[in-house]
Structures are given as structure tokens and as C-alpha cells.
Symmetry: C2
Subunit: 328 residues, 2 copies
């Protein structure tokens, strides 16, 4: 079953993919399905090679599939639709114990190239409206496989959160003629207190309105709608700034920090998003301290109101010091 169901009370699609209940769950390291198949006598993994650089393949337990069947159920009030789309897994390295933070800048630069390629390839499919590049890292986020990897979802609709961003940015452009994200970035530059690090082409900061204590946003300084629009130099800089922020994260509590990474950019539904979508990456680590997590509980999940117990200015200072410490 790969099916979308419409919630008319909040106007959102929910995705149902029932085979996912049986997906591989935290296997022991020697049975990691994302490691290379080191030799023929070994346990056969998803990658039939003895080593690899970066690998992309279709998720074996996908939330969306290209050939999703027609849904059984649905009504005029609560429509259903096929769960049509693409779900890919991106293996960052064949080293089971590595993370994106420990990868060297050249590898991250290659990963940016892979992301840009998949954005274009998946985005060109007529049934994909939005290419969502993301990573869930760490058991606190619910990962089921530890091998360093990210994911790409090709959604058959523009997801609610990017949709809201695009609507707000379009409204801002109509009212002022400018880009909302450019305006926010220049406010962060002027204020300075929440800026984490500045590369040649990218700036990382804790937003004024962070939902998570150590939330970090990486903004392209040039107003580009998608990762595919980044120049070669910009891609190098993105890799360097990513590496710096991730090293800072791992310096915070002395362990490899769990996080969600979400790439926000232009939809691929054929619309015009120039000056409306502004390519950026958002990181949400769940930790509020080394031991305590930020939970999405009643206020967040039932009402949609995030309550934070730390000031973005304070967490930005702390994280900036870690970034500067690891760089020196």
C-alpha cells in the first residue's frame, strides 16, 4: 500500500506505506545493509562492490513509489491518491563508522554534486513536484541504520512547510520587490550575534526564530532558487561551511551530534520560483543539553507552537566558539 490521504481539516496529505513497518531496524554492524559487500562469502549488502565512494539507490522501504497503485478508499470529502514519487538513499561513504562531519571537504563537495544531479534528475519526472534532500542522524531522531547516509524524497506535491515558505516569500516579493530570505540574511549579518561562520559564498546562523536550541541555517548569499543553480565555487564553499558547522556540532557535547537536515529550495513543478525560493539548508539537532532532548509534545504537535528554553543568541555564541575552536 502506497497511498496519500487528504486531511481536509488542515489541508494536508498524509502518506501511507504499509510495507515500511517491517524495515530493517538497527542491525548489528556486521549485518549493515549499507556497507560494501567486502567479498563473495560475506553477507550480501545493498551494494555489490568491495568498496565505493558515494552511492545512490532506491530505498527498499519507500514512502513513495513510481508505480503506486490506485487507492482503494477516498471520498469527495477525504480524497485519496496514489503514493507516487521516488525515495532514494544516498550513502556518503563506505566507512561504516564515518559521518558527514568526519568526511573531508572533497567528499562533501562530491556529495553536493550528487545532490544537484539528483535534484535535476528527480525534478524532471512529471510526477515529482518537490525534491527534498534530507538526513536523519542518530538514534534520538529514530534512524534505523547507522551507516552514514542521507535520503532524497521526490514528493508528488509541494510539502506544507516549504509551501508556507514559498507563499510568505512570494507575498514579500509582491509587497517589497525584494527576496524575504535575502532580507533575513542581511539582518543576521548586521546584527551578527547569531552568525556562526561565513564562507566566501555561504553564511551559517542560528535564526532569530529558532525552533530547536542548536538549529542552524546555511544560506547561499547569492539569491539562487536551487542547488542546481550554484556555481562550482559556490559548491566548494557550501562543502567547507557544511564541514565547519558539523565539526562545531560534534564539539558541543563530545559526541557525534544527532540532527535532522532539511534542504529547502525551488519546487520542480514547472512554476517560476526566481526571487521566491532561496536555496538554504536547515539543521535541527534534538539535543537541548548533552543528556536532554527537545521533544515535540502537546504544544508543538497538537497546537503547532514551539516552546524554546534557550535564547538563539546564547546557543549561537556557544556553537560559534566550538566552530572557531575546531577550525584553529
Amino acid at each position: 500500500m502506497n497511498e496519500l490521504r487528504w486531511n481536509p481539516t488542515v489541508k494536508e496529505w498524509i502518506s501511507y506505506a504499509t510495507h515500511r513497518q517491517d524495515r530493517t531496524f538497527l542491525p548489528p554492524k556486521e549485518y549493515c545493509p549499507l556497507c560494501p559487500t567486502r567479498n563473495e562469502d560475506d553477507f550480501p549488502t545493498e551494494v555489490p562492490r568491495s568498496s565505493y565512494e558515494i552511492v545512490v539507490f532506491e530505498n527498499k522501504f519507500p514512502s513513495f513509489v513510481p508505480d503506486a497503485p490506485e487507492p482503494e478508499a477516498g471520498s469527495q470529502l477525504t480524497p485519496a491518491a496514489p503514493g507516487r514519487g521516488v525515495c532514494e538513499v544516498v550513502l556518503y561513504t563506505d566507512d561504516h563508522a564515518a559521518t558527514l562531519a568526519t568526511a573531508d571537504v572533497r567528499r562533501i563537495r562530491n556529495l553536493v554534486e550528487v545532490w544537484a544531479d539528483r535534484y535535476e534528475v528527480l525534478g524532471s519526472l512529471d510526477y515529482v513536484d518537490y525534491v527534498f534532500i534530507f538526513e536523519n542522524k542518530g538514534e534520538a531522531i529514530g534512524v534505523t541504520l547507522h551507516h552514514p547516509h542521507g535520503q532524497i524524497y521526490g514528493y508528488p506535491f509541494i510539502p506544507p512547510r516549504p509551501q508556507k515558505e514559498l507563499e510568505a516569500a512570494r507575498e514579500y516579493r509582491e509587497r517589497t520587490g525584494g527576496c524575504l530570505h535575502c532580507a533575513l540574511l542581511s539582518q543576521e549579518h548586521e546584527d551578527g550575534r547569531r552568525v556562526l561562520t561565513k564562507g566566501e559564498h555561504f553564511t551559517a546562523f542560528v535564526p532569530f526564530y529558532a525552533r530547536f536550541p542548536y538549529e542552524a541555517h546555511l544560506y547561499a548569499r547569492r539569491c539562487v532558487p536551487s542547488i542546481a543553480d550554484l556555481s562550482g565555487e559556490e559548491r566548494w564553499d557550501l562543502a567547507r561551511v557544511l564541514k565547519r558547522v558539523l565539526a562545531g556540532y560534534d564539539g558541543l557535547f563530545g559526541f557525534s551530534l544527532p540532527y535532522m537536515m532539511a534542504v529547502h529550495q525551488a519546487p520542480t513543478d514547472g512554476g517560476d520560483y526566481k526571487g521566491v525560493a532561496h536555496f538554504h539548508i536547515e539543521f535541527y539537532p534534538p539535543n537541548r543539553t548533552a543528556e536532554k532532548l527537545k521533544y515535540l509534545a502537546g504544544s508543538e504537535t497538537g497546537a503547532g507552537v514551539f516552546v524554546m528554553d534557550v535564547k538563539p543568541e546564547d546557543t549561537a555564541r556557544e556553537l560559534r566558539e566550538k566552530i572557531e575552536g575546531t577550525a584553529s
Copy 2:
């Protein structure tokens, strides 16, 4: 610091309450601040009495306060506002080991009365626009105190999720003349597969578009905007149906099931919500199996798309059998 900050990219307020970082965290049972102060020599708790029925008091670590100071920061692009509002704690019983599920119907009936009273009292404050009655239960949800209790937030704005519900319902009313929630309820009654239990005045069901495996909604069958509009008989029935659903939850896996409870009803901002707001309670248990939790990860938090690996029809059948089993 009790401050609201505006995220202009998604048009939402984020609440900052920095003293909350130091709140009491899972104290041992003998130091539970929500237990009665059994005798004078004991550790003094929040309730200076030797026993109690139901107690409501102001949260010692509130996300909102009535006298919030003017915020320091903010700009035209990213306004800030005082975090003005009310946060109350509702102790369900003085029995530390009890839960709402194990409370008798008479106690739950009294709790409904308390909720209705607080809805009216907090709703009458000029700086409260929405009274949100909720409960976070279980460590999986991030509770910091185990003593059976719920919470009430008096928000100074209508929170995003209820706001979206109200907008959708208003649009539906303008288009059809009817109530969106009444239409959904009658569709659930007709279909029957997701109905969990029916009282005289309330129906519990797993919605067609559930975001959590064992999500359950309790709808008033009469179209009433708020808990304060329920008749005495309806309040009794709500208590009975609540008790049945909660007993079913605890029967699922053989342990007291964690959940978030969220009450959705009319705002108290002076607007007219008759036929638009329809009083109902939503439960979101995080478990997808006895051992595995549903995490709000990249797709949910970064894109806003919930992915479910079970069918609402299947979880409804399972939960209905448990409810019927505990009733007989």
C-alpha cells in the same frame, strides 16, 4: 525571558521561556513536587495539603506569564512580542501511581468540569486568545514529572494548527453551509471501519488521515464550539468515552501507553465560531509497536509530511478489540 519571536518565512510565533531550562527533571518518587505534602516534616510539595481531589495551579516553569516584560529584540521583519499568557498544571489525583486511564468515571467527569471552568476563566482574560487543554504522558513524550497531570496553556494568539482547522472549517461552511467536522463524523459513522466506540453523545474513531498509528479523535456528536457548551449529560458521556479509549490504549501492549492529548475548540478571542469550531479531543500515542516509536524526523519536521507505516483501518480494528475487551 518570556518572549515571542515571529518567523516570517512560515508566519508563526515561537515562544522563548529561558527559565524552563532548569525545570525539575524526573525526580525520584519521594520528591515528586505534585504529590500532596503528607505531613509537616515531609518535603514540601506544590500542594500544601495532606490529600486532594483535583488541583489546578500556575506552572512554576511557564512558557507564558501574565506580566511578561517587553521584549528586547525584534525588527519590522522579525517582530518580537511579550510572551504573555497563562500556563496551568492540572493534577488529576493525589495518587502518584494513577493515570487518567485508571481514574474512575466520576473523577474524569469532575475533570471535565474543571476543564470547562478553566476554559471560561482563562478565556475571559483579554490577553488570552486560545485556551489549549492538553496532556503529555510518558517519558517517550518527554514528560519531566510522572505524577498524573495535564496542562492548560492560555495562548496570546490562535495557534497554527487550530488556526488551520478553523480556516478550513470556515471555508467549508461558506461553500456548503454545513460543518466540516459534522460531515467527517457522519462519514466515519457510515464507513464504520475506523470507529472505536460510540457513547450516547460522543464518538471515538481513528481518523481516515491519522498521522500517528493509534491516533484517536473523540468528537462531540452535537455541533458545539467548546467544552463550556456541553450539557451535563454530554459531560458524563465524554468521561465514559474517554475512560473507554484510555483503557483500550493500556490494553494494546500491556503497559500504560504514552500519548499526547490535544483539545481543539473555539478560540476565546471574541470571534464567532458557531458552526466552525467543533469541540473534539485528539490523542497521539507515539508508539507504532510495543518497542518502536514513530519519530517526527526529516519528512515530518523539515517538510511537514507525515509518513505512516500502518493503515488506520488496521490500527482501529486492533484498538476497538481492546476497548471491547476491557468493557466486557
